[in-house]
């Protein structure tokens, strides 16, 4: 990497990135030669079948895995440095809430660890819970909430760190489709309101196309990028857009990309 | 994995070196110089520490060679310090210099254990070897420390004899210990263990078919687990006489309830979905039992067996305190303690501990074979903090 300062708007820069896992059955090429640049304010989805490395790529960005070859910069610095700067918020597949903490205390957790002042903590908790429409639920416990509400708490918690970058790993994967549609709409509004950069891992084609400005199609063995699709849907969109020809054409292209990777031949 | 000072690459050798330097600056015992100690003890120990230290400086060495040298230096150091402590002018009067040397050796051994525990060899046999080597080194160091403290400070043998003397006692009284083993383990523990567990299992099966009985037995069984059952030992001796029958009876009663409670809990641990599947294919009670409920209960049953293995030995030995023919581990302990012959007492204790560990080990192997599918035996991965 030589031009880390020339693209000031590049939030994530991935260059020829590879990651091999050593397993008892020999090395597994989880990621091979990935190139990707994500600029500020983008909503990028990583889509592909299981084993294509989409979650692994997200974990490399978050410094939860270490790459074995190539380069990666997050906010112009190494992922480890970015993590230490608390440059991103991470939303996991499950809500990952602590049952012994109230909703507010859960949102406060990263702030306590960062050493944010008490008054600031309370302000931020109130602000972000309001943002995910959970004002008034501060003193409930996570297990008193529905699955969708729990995942919204988890999003508020990731936002409370006030990162430029939001990393989301199939956050709605475990929810039913009706809840998921609802949350997709809410997430889109949130993204428009806050202008955060979002990297979103999913295995649902409609979800990826509906949410994203760009969809990165990945395929397994080895994990690599098959296609990058620009989505130029209007900024103001509702779920109805999924019946329009433009939407269907985009979804079709994503499906073609997935097929080209022979990704559904043998699981 | 985060690294701490006592695990760091430089910290441990630094401590070894520091304590070695401190040791050599002091006298190993009052008015004794390092040069006036007979035998090879000093040179062996210091040599071993020097090898261990030089390993942290030399970097261009294969991992196998490195581990081998490290192991050899530990063995050399342990035998050296053991020879050293038995030297005439050290025994019983060991001073600051000597104990600093022991501290240096402790850090050298810690370093070796650390190297072996973080090593991830690709060959499976070496993985197993390392897994045994680390606790093996710890055990060897524990025994050596015991030896060093008892000999170095001249602890009275009545209070705590050094392991070497206990070893001598074991070696010179094998027939006596073998007879004790036969009396206590073969004739009392094994039959009592088998009968107690079978009875517990059988009653659990009945309780499983009769929900009313199960609801009554489970709380009572749990209550009994809080009762010091060993206390019935004198009663059993009164009822069944001095010989092994009374000990076996104590073992039966001690092992019965853990097996009962665990089996009932285990048989109730099958998931509703698994049982509904059995029902949907029209399985009868025993078919569902053999295919779903018994396998699910196995981890619980093995848990009870492992708890019982320790309880059984305790029960038999305690019962021997209340009356016994002139043979048995408990008899040996109480009579030799009365004669203040502590080497023999510890020999009997060692016999009991080894029997118990073997018993437990066999059960653990059987458990691993029988319940290999259980999550506790599957390896987890993931970044740990």
């Amino acid at each position: 990497m030589s031009q880390s300062t020339s693209h000031s708007t590049a939030v994530v820069q991935v260059d020829q990135l590879s990651l091999d896992f050593n397993t008892p059955d020999g090395p597994v090429h989880a990621l091979a030669g990935i190139n990707l640049e994500i600029t500020e304010g983008e909503f990028v989805s990583l889509i592909g079948p299981s084993g294509c490395g989409k979650t692994t790529l997200l974990r490399v960005i978050a410094d939860l895995e270490s790459h074995t070859a190539g380069d990666i910069l997050v906010n112009g610095v190494s992922p480890e440095q970015a993590r230490q700067d608390r440059a991103y918020g991470y939303v996991f597949q499950a809500p990952a809430l602590y049952p012994w903490r109230t909703v507010r205390q859960n949102v406060l957790l990263p702030l306590e660890i960062m050493g944010v002042s008490r008054s600031e903590q309370r302000q931020r908790a109130a602000r972000y819970l309001e943002l995910v429409n959970l004002g008034g639920f501060e003193n409930k416990y996570p297990w008193q909430l529905s699955g969708g509400m729990q995942q919204r708490v988890s999003i508020a918690r990731a936002l409370s760190v006030e990162p430029q970058l939001l990393l989301m790993d199939e956050p709605f994967g475990a929810l039913d489709e009706i809840t998921r549609d609802h949350l997709n709409e809410q997430l889109l509004q949130l993204w428009r309101k806050t202008g955060k950069t979002v990297v979103f891992v999913t295995h649902s084609i409609p979800e990826a196309v509906f949410l994203s400005t760009r969809v990165v199609v990945m395929s397994p063995r080895p994990g690599r990028v098959m296609d990058v699709i620009e989505c130029s849907l209007p900024a103001q969109r509702s779920l109805d857009i999924r019946e329009t020809p433009e939407f269907l054409a985009l979804a079709h292209r994503v499906r073609q990309g997935l097929k080209a990777g022979h990704s559904y031949d043998d699981e | 994995m985060t690294r701490r000072w006592f695990e760091g690459f430089t910290g441990v050798p630094l401590m070894t070196g520091g304590f070695l330097a401190l040791a050599l600056l002091q006298e190993p015992a009052p008015a004794v110089s390092w040069l006036h100690i007979p035998g090879w003890g000093v040179s062996m120990t210091v040599g071993a520490l020097a090898i261990s230290l030089s390993l942290s400086v030399i970097t261009n060495l294969g991992l196998t060679a490195r581990h081998l040298i490290q192991l050899l230096s530990v063995v050399l150091g342990l035998s050296g310090v053991s020879e050293l402590v038995h030297a005439q002018n050290i025994q019983g009067v060991a001073g600051a210099g000597f104990w600093f040397l022991v501290a240096a050796l402790a850090f050298a051994i810690w370093d070796a254990m650390r190297q072996f525990s973080i090593a991830t060899p690709s060959e499976p046999w070496r993985g197993v070897l390392y897994q045994l080597l680390v606790p093996g080194l710890f055990g060897a160091w524990f025994l050596m420390l015991w030896e060093l403290i008892t000999v170095g400070f001249g602890v009275p043998r009545v209070l705590l004899p050094p392991p070497s003397l206990v070893g001598d006692a074991i070696a010179s009284s094998v027939p006596v210990l073998a007879a004790d083993f036969r009396q206590t383990v073969v004739r009392a523990v094994v039959p009592g263990f088998v009968i107690g567990n079978l009875a517990g299992f059988a009653i659990a099966l009945i309780a499983d078919r009769v929900p009313f009985l199960r609801r009554g037995l489970l709380p009572v069984g749990n209550l009994v687990s809080a009762i010091p059952i060993v206390g019935i030992a004198p009663i059993m001796v009164m009822w069944f006489g001095f010989d092994w029958q009374s000990k076996a009876a104590v073992v039966v009663i001690m092992t019965f309830f853990p097996m009962l409670v665990n089996t009932i809990a285990g048989l109730g641990s099958s998931g509703a979905m698994e049982l509904d599947l059995m029902r949907s294919v029209g399985a009868n009670h025993w078919q569902a039992f053999a295919r779903v409920r018994l396998p699910n209960a196995l981890p619980y049953i093995f848990n009870a067996l492992k708890i019982n293995s320790a309880l059984a030995l305790i029960g038999a030995i305690v019962a021997e305190f209340f009356g016994t023919p002139i043979v048995g581990i408990g008899f040996r302990i109480s009579t030799e303690a009365g004669r203040m012959n502590m080497e023999m007492v510890w020999a009997a204790i060692a016999l009991a501990a080894v029997s118990g560990s073997l018993f437990y080990g066999l059960l653990a192997v059987a458990e691993r074979r029988a319940t290999f599918w259980h999550p506790s035996f599957r390896k987890l991965s993931g970044k740990r903090l």
């Binding site: 416990y141 | 525990s117 009554g216 809080a226 010091p228 060993v230 206390g231 303690a337």
Partner: protein, 300 residues
């Protein structure tokens, strides 16, 4: 309705009462059976014609029965618990107090030791690999069987009283605590640990905010086992200390003088002490879990 629902059915009181009634009946029958040899001998010597009814009544009121009947033990309990002053050496409450204090001290020491070792094992790889097998092996040493000897030896060098007895209880207690706490401290899912990693939390923060709260339920399960063991340890440790008192000393005195009623009474008081302690820990567990889960109703 599924099988598991049946097993958690309501109304435990009646079945428990029936089982206890059954046990008492077996006890009465056993008393007749076990005491019969002695009695029949006596009848034969005096040429008395006897029937089962007379055998039973005699068996249930012997001076020195092989197995005393429940009501005889009950009378002994009334005599030694209710009728004696608490400070009297003949009061079982006095002896229970001695046993209680040494088992509580041992329980506290053992719990502290167990928690400390567990933290070491979870955080230091070398300790995990080297110590864990020996901790398991330590419990195959029949410490209870050695307890009397340890007490005698320690006594011979002038260490007497509460402490040596507590050491035995401690040795028994620390094991379940280590095992439970290691399990508990390792219980957070990898996802929660990853999350802490993304917050760039340090080891202390991970310990106090995640690992420790996660381990509380495991800790209490272990404590319930440990406190029962601590009573067992104290009683066995008291066996050779006849002069100092304690329930264990009463057991030994009873067995020397063939006073079976005395043994049974001591055993029953020991069981009650033990059950009360386990209940007390269970109560603390409910409070702790209630606070941990923020008011969620938890069934122990």
């Amino acid at each position: 309705m599924t099988m598991s629902e049946v097993s958690h059915g309501q109304g435990r009181l009646l079945p428990v009462l029936v089982v206890i009634m059954g046990l008492i009946l077996i006890w009465y029958a056993g008393a007749v059976y076990l005491n019969s040899t002695q009695l029949i001998d006596r009848y034969d010597k005096r040429n008395v014609n006897w029937n089962l009814g007379q055998l039973a009544t005699d068996a249930w009121r012997m001076e020195r029965p092989v197995l005393p009947a429940p009501h005889q033990v009950g009378l002994e309990l009334k005599k030694t618990v209710l009728d004696k002053r608490v400070s009297s050496k003949r009061s079982l409450v006095y002896h229970a107090g001695i046993t209680l204090s040494s088992s509580l001290l041992g329980f506290c020491l053992g719990t502290l030791l167990g928690i400390g070792l567990a933290i070491g094992i979870v955080y230091v790889t070398t300790l995990d690999r080297s110590l864990m097998p020996w901790i398991i092996a330590s419990q195959t040493v029949p410490i209870l069987a050695l307890a009397p000897m340890i007490i005698v030896v320690l006594g011979s060098i002038g260490i007497t009283g509460l402490f040596p007895k507590s050491v035995i209880s401690m040795y028994l207690c620390f094991f379940p605590v280590v095992v439970g706490m290691v399990k508990g401290l390792r219980s957070p899912e990898p996802m929660l640990l990853d999350q802490m990693h993304t917050y760039h939390a340090n080891s202390m923060q991970v310990f106090f905010k995640l690992r420790l709260p996660s381990s509380i339920p495991f800790l209490f399960t272990s404590l319930k086992v440990a406190i029962a063991l601590s009573v067992v340890g104290a009683i066995v440790a008291e066996l050779p200390t006849g002069g100092q008192g304690g329930l264990g000393a009463r057991l030994l005195t009873g067995s020397y003088y063939g006073q079976t009623t005395m043994i049974w009474a001591a055993l029953i008081v020991a069981s009650v002490v033990s059950a009360l302690l386990v209940t007390a820990v269970g109560f603390c567990e409910r409070i702790a879990l209630y606070r941990l889960k923020g008011g969620q109703v938890v069934r122990a």
